[in-house]
């Protein structure tokens, strides 16, 4: 079989499969040290056989990885409407600034007298994020969104132990919250109490009141929620939880819709996290590590992770470990500092007016898709949405027997990354689309046309659509077998 599929695309084997005994990609000089045979490792830790590394030339190794990189699909290749993931463009100026030697080559243990600029950027970014979200303090330490959630809920736990003598036992989680929230509760030793959203897709204060008790430590609410709707009664909900002695956690992964327009700190929220790799344009989805700063009000500030970057009386920046109530470290050194540099750059590039345009355009783009796609697809909550819109396969399933999975696969044949599917789970067969502010009307129109084409194809030839995708190098995968009989590791064929 030829490896060429169409044009110069390649069906790339595993590098192990092209290995040829004795072929090599290096020529090391002879060792100048005589091997004594003594190795400072316990005998039990020494491997008995040589590892089965692939044996290839340098050119073969280069081609292998370059070809794989050409098969990658990222935001720099095309539209990536993955709902609640905010796959926005990452401006290249962020990369320029992060590569300045004063940031990129910095050793995390360098004395603070050498790192004043980096520390100032760190503390300034914390201040910017506090201002944007309406909180009094921020920790940049958490490594990603779920880590920020973990840290935030741990702060609540610590506060309740300190002020009430008990962490309490339960956390309320609406069915429109992000999927990581229940895991965060479990990791912090809490049981979750689900709250069903009302028919209009929002959490009702009376449903919160009905389950609020002395046992409830907090509510974890995602706002805007995963239906792309703003929880307009967030203040009433917060008042109910506070009156019961609990606290309010806001999952801030959807902050893109609120930038410059609303501050969770002003809405009764006690603590939230941000995803710098979503809202603040640092790389997302394999492009780099994440960063999940946690933003808190005065009550929770004493418990923030150490070290805190503070300015001394002499005006110099320093690190403060002397925080008796801290929950301790949650990440080595300062967190993913390279991401902090990128997010700082993004905020400085856009400024106040630019950030307002971000949220404005994000919401406008989502609503443009909602109205246009609503002509062929079922919009679950068909009224003005925030940064994302949730559709499902109701019409196509009813008329053509084609479901969300078929539609998502067919989007690949149309040259776009599929949206989030089957989430949120409170919607049957959801298709969750977040265009972000960085896409042009031309791109959105092309996507709308693709979705309309899929709808026509579904009605004309449903069996064909159920075979999609046909154009990529690899067609539809057997997802069931992949889970039931996963092959996670290459091993040499016997003989």
């Amino acid at each position: 079989m030829s490896i060429a599929t169409r044009g110069l695309q390649f069906r790339e084997p595993l590098i192990f499969e092209v290995s040829s005994p004795g072929r090599t990609g290096h020529s090391l000089p002879a060792s100048c040290v005589e091997a004594s045979g003594d190795v400072a490792l316990p005998a039990g830790l020494l491997r008995q056989d040589a590892p089965a590394w692939p044996e290839v030339s340098e050119l073969e190794a280069v081609r292998h990885f370059v070809r794989l990189s050409q098969q990658n699909y990222g935001i720099d290749v095309g539209f990536f409407p993955l709902g609640s993931c905010t796959m926005k463009y990452n401006p290249k100026v962020n990369e320029d600034v992060a590569r300045l030697p004063g940031f990129a080559d910095l050793h995390p243990l360098a004395p603070t007298s050498w790192t004043q600029g980096a520390l100032e950027l760190y503390a300034t970014l914390e201040r910017y994020l506090a201002e944007i979200t309406g909180f009094s303090a921020v920790s940049l330490q958490p490594a990603a969104g779920a880590h920020g959630e973990f840290t935030g809920l741990r702060l609540i736990r610590e506060h309740l132990i300190t002020t009430q003598g008990t962490p309490r036992a339960k956390v309320l989680v609406p069915d429109t919250a992000h999927g990581t929230n229940p895991a965060t509760c479990k990791m912090n030793g809490y049981a979750t109490v689900p709250i069903a959203s009302a028919d209009n897709g929002l959490v009702r204060p009376e449903d919160v009141a009905a389950v609020m008790s002395d046992d409830v430590a907090a509510i974890m609410i995602t706002n805007p929620n995963t239906l792309g709707l703003f929880e307009s009664q967030i203040k009433e909900i917060a008042d109910i939880v506070h009156a019961g002695g609990g606290m309010v956690y806001c999952d801030g992964a959807n902050m893109n819709a609120l930038l410059g327009r609303g501050r969770p700190g002003d809405m009764g929220v006690d603590v939230m996290h941000l995803n710098l790799h979503k809202t603040f344009s640092t790389p997302h989805g394999g492009g780099g590590p994440g960063s999940g700063p946690v933003c808190v009000n005065d009550a929770l500030e004493p418990y923030l992770p150490v070290p805190r970057v503070v300015r001394g009386a002499d005006g110099a920046w320093t690190v403060d470990f002397d925080r008796p109530a801290t929950i301790g470290r949650v990440k080595a050194f300062f967190g993913n500092f390279g991401m902090h540099v990128r997010a700082y750059t993004y905020i400085r590039e856009l400024g106040r007016e630019g950030l307002l345009d971000v949220s404005g355009m994000a919401v406008l783009n989502a609503n443009y898709l909602r109205v246009k796609l609503g002509k062929t697809y079922n919009v679950v909550q068909d009224r003005v949405c925030m940064h994302e819109v949730v559709l499902n396969d109701k019409h196509q399933r009813r008329d053509a027997g084609v479901d969300t999975r078929d539609i998502a696969k067919a989007i690949i044949d149309q040259g776009f990354h599929p949206p989030t599917t089957f989430f949120p789970i409170c919607v049957h067969n959801a298709i969750m689309i977040e265009p972000t502010e960085t896409e042009s009307k031309d791109t959105l129109d092309a996507f709308i046309e693709a979705m309309e084409t899929i709808d026509r194809d579904a009605r004309a030839n449903p069996d064909g659509l159920r075979q999609a995708p046909l154009k990529p190098i690899v067609g539809r995968l057997d997802e069931t077998r992949a889970v039931r009989q996963p092959v996670l590791r290459w091993s040499p064929k016997a003989g």
Partner: protein, 130 residues
């Protein structure tokens, strides 16, 4: 059309319950297995676990989602269907038979009677399937 058996009791979460001597056998309905698609894993409770009505006691996983299982009645787990560890697809092929999930020794017969009968469940399914 979903297969709904006249001799079973049903919950809003699409589980069925059937009294069998002094225990209640529990599984998920044909409608539920069809909605979930290919079941790839069933997480089972331990024998001896005590459940209150509404408690989550396990999960059913398909390639598209993971769903909690809720106790339709209160009781103690007396047996779990260990065959599902190796053959979770039994839930797809025979959800009312070999694909049963747990057996509870129920304390309160009134809880079982309070569940939906086949007629009420058929109506519930008709409303849910949109």
């Amino acid at each position: 059309m979903a297969d709904i058996r006249p001799d079973l009791r049903y919950t809003e979460d699409h589980e069925w319950a059937r009294p069998d001597g002094d225990v209640v056998v529990i599984g998920i309905t044909d409608f539920a297995q069809a909605q979930l698609g290919d079941i790839v894993m069933v997480e089972l409770p331990r024998v001896g676990d005590r459940l209150n009505k509404g408690d989550t006691f396990g999960t059913v996983e398909s390639p598209k989602s993971v769903s909690d299982l809720f106790a339709p009645v209160s009781g103690e787990v007396v047996e779990v269907n260990g065959a599902l560890d190796d053959k979770p697809e039994l839930v797809n092929s025979d959800c009312y038979g070999e694909g049963w999930i747990v057996k509870l020794r129920a304390g309160d017969a009134a809880e079982l009677d309070a569940l939906m009968d086949a007629g009420a469940y058929a109506k519930h399914v008709a409303e849910a399937d949109h």
